[in-house]
Amino acid sequence: MLTMASVMEIYQLLPKTNCKECGKSTCMAFAVDLLARKVKVEDCLPLVREEKYRANYQKLSEIITPVGDVTETGLIVHEDKCIGCGNCVVACPVNVAADPFGAGSGKAPTSDKVILKVEDGIVRAKNVEECRRFGENKILCVACIDTCPTKAIEFV
């Protein structure tokens, strides 16, 4: 099962030379952005170019799985893992509050205020600004992560 990589883990695999070729001031800064998927592994040019980093490059590419969209809250859906079971849809507290008799009761969402919704068998995130992990009074909500049987949802 894929677990979330930590910044340190990523940093350890980078050249650690602070060469700035990627446009960041340090490798650590690059690691932070890589974790948030703001940059790609390939943006670290020496890693791609130099033979001695080959193994690390490969490892990093495995850890940092490419994703379609990272939402502003950092929510990523690994579409290849999602089975569309709807557990997260029904468990998300924002969904429940916005749509108690649809999503909150296990059925197809009937409100367009919900965050998570299954389309074509895969969960899609909308209205992410409503996510409890976002904004002024943010809390570390894990409802969608804990209920997912395949660990398809990740926050970066």
Binding site: C82, G106, K107, E119
Partner: protein, 418 residues
Amino acid sequence: MVVCLSNNYYVCTGCALLCDDIEVELEGSSLVKVHSACRKGVARMKGCETPLECAVNGKSTDTDTAIKEAARILSNAENPLIFGHGNSSSQAQRKAIAIARKTGAYLDDTSSFCQGPIIEAILQGKLRTCTLDEVKDRADVIVFWGADPSSSHPRHMSRYSYFPRGKERQRGWEEDRTAICIDVRKSDTAEICGNNGTYIIPPGEDAEFMDALVSGLSNKVPKTSFDFDKKRILELTNILKKAKFGVIFAGLGLVYSLKDLEPLFALMDKLNSVSSFHLIPMVGQYNMRGSNHNIFEETGYVNRVKFGTEVLHGPEYSVVEALKEKAVDAALIIGSDPLSSLPLSVARYLTEIPLITIDPCQTLTSSKSDVTIPCALAGVESGGTAIRMDGVEVEMKKIIETDRLSDEEILTRILEAL
């Protein structure tokens, strides 16, 4: 043009959960988007890449010719087998039964080697059951036994059994429900039930674990030959005792490991003497249970029958024994793929006898068939009714038009041609 049929709900026939809250978007006569169905349901509803062709002896032909040939094979056979039914509407199933009656056929369905014994016990009133809607509104202790809904019925936990808020379960799963998973491996469902809620037992030891639970529930020391931690068994029996509305979802793991249902009856009796427990079989194919109900109504048995001057019933009339003993001399397979789903050692005999397949898609069985007749995809291209895993009847509506006949129409015409 994309037409969104909003608030126009359809039924998914991907499994016997028959989710009835599916919305679709159409472009012309094809589904371009399916809302709320799981991955498996979407794959089913969008149809297969390899549709079945209408053919006799490998040569494509028209439906009339194929139907005539099918009828000829069935009338010529002394002991035809009519098998499948789990992926047919109840209306088609009744026609299949009529064909079996008329041709003196062996009639069996997939439940014969799946959930048959449990559904029979339920229909005979030997096991207490309830509906999935009751589970959603009331259940506080949910046991998945030898069942992995996350893999077999993906929306089971979100629609009914664990996550949704229901009438008496307003606070959601964390506070209001306890989910237990008893299995031989740590399945995806077990991941959700967590380490505390998961009980991994050795393969084939389900009966003994049931006995141990009965002991625990009777305040005796729960012993097992595989030395399961007694403390954990007692923790579990405590949860079971306190249940206000308990339910056991019986999966194939449970069914296959029991020689007979006695240990399960004993456990259910004990549970109902200390608390309140119900059982629902995790039926796979969308209308497997309907087939059991329909055959039961017609014959008094849920499956494994042979028509003749009287209706015979027993394991010797099961699809497996009939093929093993080479007792049948032709076969009509409807919406099923025995060459994939039965042991090959048993199913191989099908390739030696005249074989007819009715299915929307090519299957391993159709690839070895003498007559293949494509039918409409139920729930998408044809309607009818089906029975959900909990015994509730669900009505399916047609979503798109097709030239292909429904399985009900094909069977009606075979019946007429006999």
